[in-house]
């Protein structure tokens, strides 16, 4: 009996350690050689509207998290911008007319068109991000229609998607196995040449937590380090002046 209890305690401890080990944020990035070689420098960026989607999965099905999604989107936007600024990158918003004389409605139409094009390219990009090296993906030079493009090196697309799993659903996930026993979120950053539309860099940051959902309200602690790591890898801003690893 005592042996069984000890075994249970060891298993619990192992489980706890595993969970904590998984709480880190693995991240990957892929870039065109033009970026890694420094031939294409990323010092000025145009931020496309950030998209953050959170949903809750409970025993009673999916539920919207509209308020949380709004807050998360804002948090992701300010976090990415703060890290870009730390890397000495100048930021302009895609919605900024920048004395171009373009109306809000015209800019909105171009943003929707570029998002459409991005969604289309994302079908292949998400599955074969390595092909960025071969210059396989492009949004076309419609990218240059945005007034911000004139003063930017790249357009930055930021998309976050998270699934918050309720306690009951996690417990059920443990019972039946499968992936239902964690809350998880993925943050994707894509950089496209602001003049030609060619996709030059792609970074994916993932986070899965068995207990809690830190990614919802502690974005900085969850993604901050990984983001810096990827900006350094992609030689964004001041990292360009550092020696290549």
């Amino acid at each position: 009996m005592i042996l069984k209890l000890r075994l249970l305690a060891i298993l619990c401890a192992a489980g706890f350690l595993t969970v904590n080990a998984r709480a880190t944020t693995p991240s990957w990035s892929y870039e065109n050689p033009k970026v890694s070689s420094g031939e294409f420098q990323i010092r000025n960026v145009c931020m496309m509207p950030v998209e953050g989607k959170l949903s809750r999965v409970t025993m009673k099905g999916g539920q919207g998290m509209s308020n949380e999604s709004d807050n998360w989107t804002a948090a992701l936007e300010s976090m990415v911008e703060a890290h870009l600024k730390t890397a000495s990158v100048q930021i302009v918003q895609a919605t900024d007319p920048m004395a171009s004389g373009a109306s809000d409605e015209e800019i909105r139409q171009v943003i929707v068109q570029l998002n459409q094009k991005y969604e289309d390219v994302a079908n292949q990009l998400n599955r074969h991000p390595k092909d960025i090296k071969k210059s396989r993906f492009t949004l076309g030079d419609d990218a240059a229609l945005l007034p911000c493009a004139a003063k930017s090196d790249v357009l930055v697309f930021v998309q976050g998607e998270g699934q918050v799993t309720s306690g009951g659903k996690k417990a059920m996930g443990m019972l039946v196995g499968g992936r239902g026993n964690v809350s998880e979120a993925t943050l994707v950053l894509t950089m496209a040449d602001a003049k030609t539309g060619e996709i030059l860099a792609f970074a994916r940051l993932m986070n899965a937590e068995s207990f809690g959902e830190k990614f919802v309200d502690q974005t900085e602690s969850v993604y901050g380090k990984a983001l810096d790591k990827q900006f350094e890898r992609l030689r964004v801003g001041m990292y360009l002046d550092k020696k290549k690893h």
Binding site: P49, E51, K53, S55, V57, M59, K60, G61, G62, Q63, G64, S66, N67, S69, D70, T95, S100, G101, A102, E105, E106, I107, R108, Q109, V110, I111, V112, Q113, L114, Q116, K117, E119, D120, V121, N123, Q124, R136, F137, T138, D141, D142, A144, L145, P147, A149, A150, Q163, K169, M172, L175, V176, G177, G178, K195
Partner: protein, 463 residues
């Protein structure tokens, strides 16, 4: 023996679970289903809250098209369709246009009715738009959003229970797997937002759709529109679905079958004739929704729907042949068509052809798709034809209006695509001299001009 124990275990577990979650199978907690005396629960309040949040999101993301001619037109049709009916509690009807090439319309439970630019471009007249609004407003009047959300939640809970029981059953792994896959489909849809949003966009139950059709027809008659317009709308939806491969299909397409819905509408229309000829005028409709059609053509060109772009621009151009804007849009669409045919070939329409198209859509970029088509002689011939049509249209637009800058830009793109760099440079220069730095596009064209001049060997000279 083992099997009996496992079976017993399974039954016991099922009983335990069902006692723990009684709402899954009993109707004790089920609220009143009648729309008339609908009572808001916490779950419904959440749905209402989500609906308002979605409205905000659409606005914030710039998806709502705001046009000074289209908006009052849409509002007036919506108002006529609602008529004097009492507005349900917590509903404020708003009619909006979404920039979205997907042929779709949906109503949120808070009364926000969205019609996509894709659908507006497909419809032919005001009566058909009124038919769509009649159907959508019926979902709101009947509280379908709230009721469907409750139903989805109940089904999801039941599925979860089956999943637990299945995991403990003798045939556990296989059954659990199959239920999980089914459950995943429900969950995936529901995870987008609350159940209502999924139902609003992807369709309600067969009964609810039928009821909305039926109420929509009555609303059409009461507003003096021809109920036959609903049948024609279903016909248009059915024809259009064969034009392109669509990664997501909206509920209008297949739920329930369009042919059944069309028959039903025709039966109703046969006994309810209304005389409102002005609502069937195609030209007036196209004039009022032209902003949506132009936006739609641009979106089609950005989302690999060149055939649809050609179709929509052709209709617009046929109706207003003297308008250079529409002529240039049609030329742009032909240019974007590249090596594709204007209509899908009979082979593409087969089941195998559609499967191939689907595979290509997800595995190839549009540039790769064009390259593959150009490997065949037919593809090269189609490219030549489409380019010739585009050139003719650009030139015709310039003949009618020599100062129409966009036609010069389009010709420049076309000549550059054909490798006629010096001709392209001339057209780009004409464009730039006409827009004089006022266009959103002047920087792009300046860069293109520099590039083609370099390729043609001419000295680089930007204004």
């Amino acid at each position: 023996m083992h099997q009996r124990i496992a079976c017993l275990k399974c039954v016991t577990l099922a009983l335990v679970v069902l006692v723990t979650f009684p709402g899954a199978v009993t109707h004790t907690q089920e609220p009143d289903k009648s729309a008339a005396d609908f009572h808001f629960t916490d779950v419904d309040n959440q749905v209402l809250h989500d609906s308002n949040a979605i409205d905000q999101q659409y606005l914030k993301k710039g998806l709502v098209l705001q046009d000074p001619q289209l908006q009052p037109y849409l509002d007036s049709i919506g108002k006529r369709i609602i008529g004097n009916r009492p507005i349900p509690d917590q509903v404020a009807f708003k009619f909006m246009v979404l920039r979205d090439p997907m042929v779709q319309a949906f109503a949120l439970p808070n009364g926000s009715v969205y019609v996509t630019t894709g659908l507006l471009s497909l419809l032919e007249n005001e009566s058909q738009l009124a038919a769509v609004l009649g159907h959508e407003t019926a979902h709101v009047f009947k509280r379908h959003g709230y009721l469907e959300n409750r139903s989805i939640r109940k089904k999801a809970l039941t599925l979860n229970i089956i999943q637990i029981v299945a995991a403990a059953a003798p045939t556990g792994p296989n059954l659990a797997q199959s239920v999980q896959i089914f459950g995943a489909a429900v969950q995936l849809g529901a995870a987008v937002s609350s159940g209502i949003i999924v139902a609003s966009v992807f369709g309600y139950s067969r009964e609810m759709e039928h009821q909305a059709d039926s109420d929509g027809l009555i609303a059409l008659s009461n507003a003096s529109y021809d109920p036959g317009a609903m049948a024609r709308t279903f016909e248009l939806l059915d024809q259009d679905s064969s034009l392109e491969y669509e990664p997501i299909q909206g509920f209008y397409r297949d739920h329930p079958k369009l042919t059944e819905r069309r028959e039903f509408a025709l039966q109703y229309a046969a006994t309810h004739k209304t005389d409102r000829p002005e609502a069937d005028d195609k030209k007036t409709y196209a004039e009022n929704v032209s902003a949506a059609i132009c936006s739609e053509i641009q979106l089609d060109l950005s989302s690999r729907r060149e055939r649809t772009a050609v179709d929509r621009a052709s209709k617009l151009n046929a109706m207003f042949p003297d308008n250079p804007k529409y002529e240039v849009l049609l030329a742009d669409s032909y240019r974007a068509l590249g090596a594709k045919t204007k209509l899908p070939s009979p082979e593409e329409r087969t089941r195998h052809g559609q499967a191939e198209h689907r595979k290509e859509y997800f595995s190839m970029t549009s540039e790769e798709e064009q390259k593959r088509l150009l490997e065949k002689a037919e593809g090269q011939a189609d490219l030549r034809d489409n380019e010739a049509t585009a050139e003719q249209l650009y030139k015709s637009a310039l003949q009618n209006n020599p100062n129409y800058a966009d036609a010069h830009r389009g010709l420049g793109f076309l000549f550059e695509q054909e490798g006629k760099y010096s001709d392209a440079a001339t057209e780009y220069q004409s464009y730039l001299s006409m827009v004089a730095g006022t266009s959103m596009d002047h920087l792009r064209i300046e860069r293109r001009l520099a590039a083609v001049q370099k390729l043609s060997g001419a000295p680089t000279h930007i204004r």
